[in-house]
Amino acid sequence: MAVKLAHKPAEAGVDWEALVARRDALRLRKNALLTTLLVFTLLAVITYKGASTISWEFLTTPPREGMSAGGIGPMIRGSLLLMLGTFLLATPLGIFGGVCLAEYGDRSRIRRFMHASVAALAGTPPIVYGLFGLAIFVLKFQFGVSLLAGWCTLTLFSLPVIVLTTEAALKTVPEGIINGGLALGLSRWQTLWRLALPYAMPGIMTGVILSLGRAAGEAMPVLFTASIYYASTFPALSWESLRQPVANLPYYLAEGYRQPGVVPEHLIWGACLTLIVLVLLLNVGAIVIRTRARRRYL
């Protein structure tokens, strides 16, 4: 069919190419619309089901009566703790990796190979990271199922995206700025540190936050490495906490849903909404950073 059409245009006097382009554009718009609708329906349903559960008490108190009542305070705290540590570990490592990819061995085969590997890692399913974390951090390094092992696993999980966004952001730094710095006698390192990185920082931070948002919502990396399900208290935080598992939102959802009849449905919906809002807040943060930075650089 397509072949026939390709031969027709001249004689028929119809601009088939334009028609095909129009059809594709329409399809694309239709798909975009459908996707948006789907997302909004999802959000609407979760908000509708979960909103009535949300209260200060729900957000700040631990579960009671064998998980069948009370709040999700420890899960929220656990998720925030996991995020914080992952942020602190993954940001410098990821930026370092991105800098190495962007700066060293331009065009070399090694660089291309590294880039492809990182891109492949970015597409690796979360469960693989979970199992890797179990094998290496939990068992080999004997961190046990713990906050520490969770940080390490989530850091690995977030790294590829941060590395790739850093590399891409550094590529957007105008040549004029780099040449300007070098012509002033700045070393390659100073040019990178004083000029290129600040210029690329909004893009890098956007990548960091988006990748954290992804990590915040995944149950699989923390499944075997950091999670407990039954958390009826707020254990005080100390250095010991590093070696102890934490409750967290995605795992609570996964397990709570898997064991029907224990956690009542409205609590699940409430936790679901909480997690979505958390991730949304991270994304909004990324957008705010980007727009403010754009304004700063005019």
Partner: protein, 230 residues
């Protein structure tokens, strides 16, 4: 007084010896032998693509950045070959400043644009740094226009001509002796062009200046010597 009346010296500061540059094996600059004199403005003229920018970038070794570029021959500054082994690129580029065809201020305040070099190179802080920034901006005839929001206004918020003068100030602040300018007026309107030309004449009294231009009248207006490349 006597010094002021003495004509410009003809001490050679830069001499190129059979300088050739090739990109991907294709010669862009073929065995150039040229001399540039102290406290003198030399204009370089030639058709587009004849290697004017390549020659300038060979003088501060900015071509080193281009992986395809291969340089042969010598560039002697005060008799020393800058392509010799062990030459410190930072030192060289501090001596040999450069402004580009398209003004390229850094995305930071006017003050920071000028202060970055002296701060990193000479560790200057506070009062000393502010003085050197003011001095550089005055030499670039920009001080009066920007002194009120030096630290608040972004370098990018300036007009094209002001941006180019900011780049001049940024270069002067690291105390170079040699100034390379690659068609510094080609992106500017006639009024800004005239301002920059007057500046070049002024700077030529204290610096060894090499200006690329494609405009013969401009070369005549600003330079004591003119080199033709073809």
């Amino acid at each position: 007084m006597i010094a002021a009346m003495t004509p410009t010296t003809t001490k050679t500061v830069i001499q190129t010896v059979d300088l050739s540059v090739a990109y991907n094996g294709k010669l862009a600059l073929k065995a150039v032998n040229a001399q540039f004199y102290e406290n003198t403005v030399t204009a370089l003229i030639g058709p587009s693509g004849c290697g004017k920018s390549t020659l300038l970038r060979a003088l501060n070794r900015l071509n080193d950045r281009i992986p395809d570029a291969v340089t042969q021959g010598k560039v002697l500054i005060d008799g020393k070959d800058i392509y010799a082994r062990g030459v410190n690129l930072t030192r060289l580029r501090r001596e040999v400043g450069m402004v580009f065809q398209k003004p390229n201020p850094f995305p930071m305040s006017i003050f920071e644009n000028v202060a970055l070099g002296p701060r990193l190179h000479y560790g200057l802080r506070g009062r000393a740094l502010e003085e050197i920034v003011e001095d550089a901006l005055r030499k670039a005839a920009l001080w009066d226009e920007v002194k009120d929001d030096l630290k608040k206004k972004s370098g990018l918020a300036l007009s094209g001509g002001q941006q180019q003068r900011l780049c001049l100030a940024r270069m002067l602040a690291v105390q170079p002796r040699i100034l390379l300018m690659d068609e510094p007026c080609s992106a500017l309107n006639p009024i800004s062009t005239q301002e920059i030309e007057e500046l070049i004449v002024e700077l030529g009294k204290q610096y060894t200046v090499i200006v690329v231009t494609h405009n013969l009248q401009q070369a005549a207006r600003i330079s004591q010597y003119t080199g033709f490349l073809m």
